[in-house]
Symmetry: D2
């Protein structure tokens, strides 16, 4: 049976203390998509008053992990092998959302795409793709 | 006059609270290279007892920022436009080091390469490239 | 007035002899999408009887160029600054199609995504993202 | 026994007719490096009188294939799984060279870096990284 968004959030926050410390949340999983979020915190900013790159990359990576767990179950040992991210627009100082989509599930590799956006702004904040190596 | 490693570390940790919270350090800057470090902490792990991807990406990104500040001075408004990272080997639970090299400095864009490694292991933990958009 | 698919095809094939030699075609442009194609040729294969990587990359790159010309008009001097491609499935020996989407149009940079697929197979052959530097 | 540069060139040009048609050459292989070349041809240009992106990407990809064959022998069924390229400087209308380095050889994946340059100019034309999936 498919893990729920809440179960996936708990698995990730338990296994990755960093995800707990930035309050990583999984809002929704359905089919090949997961929607995840990092609530805004003043500790996430960088010069310019915008969210720092590492926070955006952390959400991109964790949202891919979420859709992989949603699809395959408890494969916590899946690990990122490649991540490519383009930063398109400085995010406002507000929550950051990510919609991760599983584009290809092979026997060795899962390939995902992530759209990152601010809830109250048009246009993407960033776009990422990534490959996860799956445990045998 | 070129900023010292210590000055760059202070600029980054003051501007980016996240860098302060993970104890980001700049060990050395010279010519086109910067060597940066994140000391090991139990809070950085992920399943498998290894460092999580976001910690490795944070160090990759911050080490590129360091070599750009070393080269151009206080251009804190430089922002990452693209980052590509390949994870090559699970890091041991120890400090993680990064050697960032500036490969191209244009008027709009700085392009860097980063080798990430564990001090006591052979082979790379990860390899990253990235572009920073420079303020005008 | 927006260039037609046929006009864009002619501009690209005239300016880039390589595109002419591989019979690059623009099937359709509309809004933020372009659909482009390379008809199958025995000269495009590699060991395994599948299309070679460079052919797939050439179509990815040219389809992004097509959607940029469709959006901005005759900006032939736009040049690729970054391209990232993931190969997901060996294409059959048949035509290769690409659907390129413009995800962000800035003043300096256009950012695109491309889905590459075989007309008679399920699943993606490859997925690419790319940035083009725009002429001033 | 390690394949020679000339043997690798022949294997690639025989298996990939496209490499033959652009006169792809392997100048040298030694240890973890291969130096490859595409001689200049008027048919490789794009608007601006410079080499087109697909030619540069073709050389990047083929030079990685060359160093993998040099290292592992006749693994022609190795296939590119990811390629990331940054274009740093418009090449002059002259030969294009590539120095490919094998950075990691795993059981499933070989990871390479490529510096692309013009023989008579300073600075890189492009920088690429790529992963090849190895046959079992």
């Amino acid at each position: 049976m498919m893990l729920t968004a809440h179960e996936i959030q708990n698995i990730i926050r338990t296994g990755v203390p960093m995800a707990e410390s930035i309050d990583f949340r999984v809002d929704e999983v359905s089919g090949k998509n997961a929607i995840a979020r990092i609530p805004f915190s003043e500790t996430f900013v960088r010069p310019g008053g915008t969210l720092s790159g590492p926070i955006i990359m952390s959400l991109a990576d964790a949202s891919m992990y979420a859709i992989i767990l949603a699809t395959l179950g408890r494969v916590e040992m899946a690990v990122t092998s490649n991540l490519n991210i383009n930063f398109l627009q400085r995010p406002k100082p507000e929550d950051l959302l990510a919609e991760a989509t599983l584009l290809k599930l092979g026997s060795r590799i899962a390939f995902c795409e992530v759209n990152l956006y601010s809830p109250n702004s048009d246009g993407l904040v960033a776009h990422a793709t990534g490959s996860y190596a799956l445990p045998r």
